[in-house]
Point group: C2
Chain length 363, copies 2
Amino acid sequence: MSAAPQAVEAGLALESAVRGGLEDYARVQARAARRYGPDFVALWEIAAQTMTGGKLVRPLLMAEAVGGFARARSGAAVAPATVIDTAVAVELLHYAFVLHDDVIDGDLMRRGRPNLIGTVAAQHPDRHAPAAMHWATTAGILMGDLALSGVYQTFARLDVTTQQKERLFALLDHAITETVAGEFADVGLADGCLAPELGTILAMSANKTATYSFAWPLRIAAVLAGQGREVEEALASAGRHLGLAFQLQDDVLSTFGDPARHGKDPDSDLREGKQTALIAFARITPAWTDIEPLLGCDTLTDAHANALRAHLEACGARRFVEGLVDESMGAFRDACADPSSPIPPQVRAVLADAADRLHERQS
Amino acid sequence: MSAAPQAVEAGLALESAVRGGLEDYARVQARAARRYGPDFVALWEIAAQTMTGGKLVRPLLMAEAVGGFARARSGAAVAPATVIDTAVAVELLHYAFVLHDDVIDGDLMRRGRPNLIGTVAAQHPDRHAPAAMHWATTAGILMGDLALSGVYQTFARLDVTTQQKERLFALLDHAITETVAGEFADVGLADGCLAPELGTILAMSANKTATYSFAWPLRIAAVLAGQGREVEEALASAGRHLGLAFQLQDDVLSTFGDPARHGKDPDSDLREGKQTALIAFARITPAWTDIEPLLGCDTLTDAHANALRAHLEACGARRFVEGLVDESMGAFRDACADPSSPIPPQVRAVLADAADRLHERQS
């Protein structure tokens, strides 16, 4: 499905407004950082670069949904400044999670470029010393804390009613708790602390990604547009289906996608022995005896990684997870198409566009 | 100075009320964690134990100052529930910083007992595997995030005026920024990224500890008691002097104090090569040639640690830092005794008591 030229133009304008909001946010923080010395300013400058380099999927989904409510003339008008400030907060939460996730995973790259940790490490006088990684990891933890705090500070300053603000705070609490629980389970699975059952893995995927990346931005849009709880819940449910499809597709792309497009190490999930739905399926097939010895092997060679990919393909794991993606996408489309859904058609159109973009992505 | 029996009794009642508030907070979180499985519940149970084991210096200072304003019949009365909820938030921020600090320093103990990280690691099926430490460190990062978020959530639900809430949010922003900047400098000094000048070390100490541990709780008390900005600033200034004295005294106790009382490894600052005021002074004395080769040595023996202590003593570093402690304490007492100070006498009495307790401590 290709969007009309005006829609593309409006989308680009929105994207550049959100990016501008993030740049402004980081600039104000970098200026305030001056009283703590040049290293703290430099840290904020690195944050500004790495924070604005993404696709802004989450804040754009929120902002586009607010636009959908406006076109439906449903609820209250939302001031553009409020939308942009909220979008900044939505991306800041993502940035905080990404930073702490990168610390936990020991990742120095994101989207094919050094992340904040990799950039700080490279600036150390002796970049290969253990102290360089320690300093860089510390920067990742602390900047994550600042970004998390920044979400709350930005929400607290929004020009919305007291009732809306209370709801936004409650939703933020829920989003953070679900994401942390999902991340904790993700690491617990990888570290052998939780039994890698498919149900556990699917719940983890939904908690870790679907809530804060899809359900949460959509709920926020409903709150800003003055919608009732029924609309908010319908959006959250649709968002969770879409988010689970997104996360499962991400697992497939990480292992089978084109590294030139997704910018990640294509073997890292296999080398880490990450417990994805692919692996949970493979475990109950005869191919497991060939997969198990290689999976999670520190010294995994390219040939071994390719062999693992071939096994996962042959045993039907890839097809199975692609089936789950289709199933979640189907549930999402059903939720949108339900004639009794309280979501206005203009907002459903936003959801459908987002789903098309996600489904067609290669990275 | 020994407090009157009633005062001791009132202090103990307050301490037990604050501890009860923290236990309630953790219990509610543990209950909500059930939907994410037993491991997430267990994490909150470990948090409950490790969160309530401290001396609660920060929340008690805040609560006692609020009591001082009440006795002075200055400003508005504060509901006891508001004081306890605020106290919980104050301790939660400390807990969040302690957790992330322990991750950064790789510490598994606090106050002579396993901290959250040490406890989680010990529960891993194979506690000596690298996965056990990874899982435990992840728990430390994520629980720190939940505690940081909990501070904001608790503040957001306080039954105070909109103006007070806005001020509390602004103060929290400031406290988090200063502490993060101080921690970043602390690690930067240890990792050789910042020149270890005495001025940098003193600014780092004030930012890292004095603001959130002393100035911030006192400012909060002023806000809750409906005081104007003048009283708040006077308290913050006194709190910063007291906090710097506390941090410098901590550096002296960590190296020269009785480990049976402070519960820490007495050689860890020396083994890590921590850049304290002791070391900054020693660096500009002839003793440096004897100190430098041993400081920050991974394999530091007891005999070497004792030799380092003897050098730091003989070169005058200990005496110098104890002099700085006295100087900060003097500035604090002068601020309290200043007849033109806007702080009511009943609140100054609270400050004086806190200073006496801190000055006499051995741990």
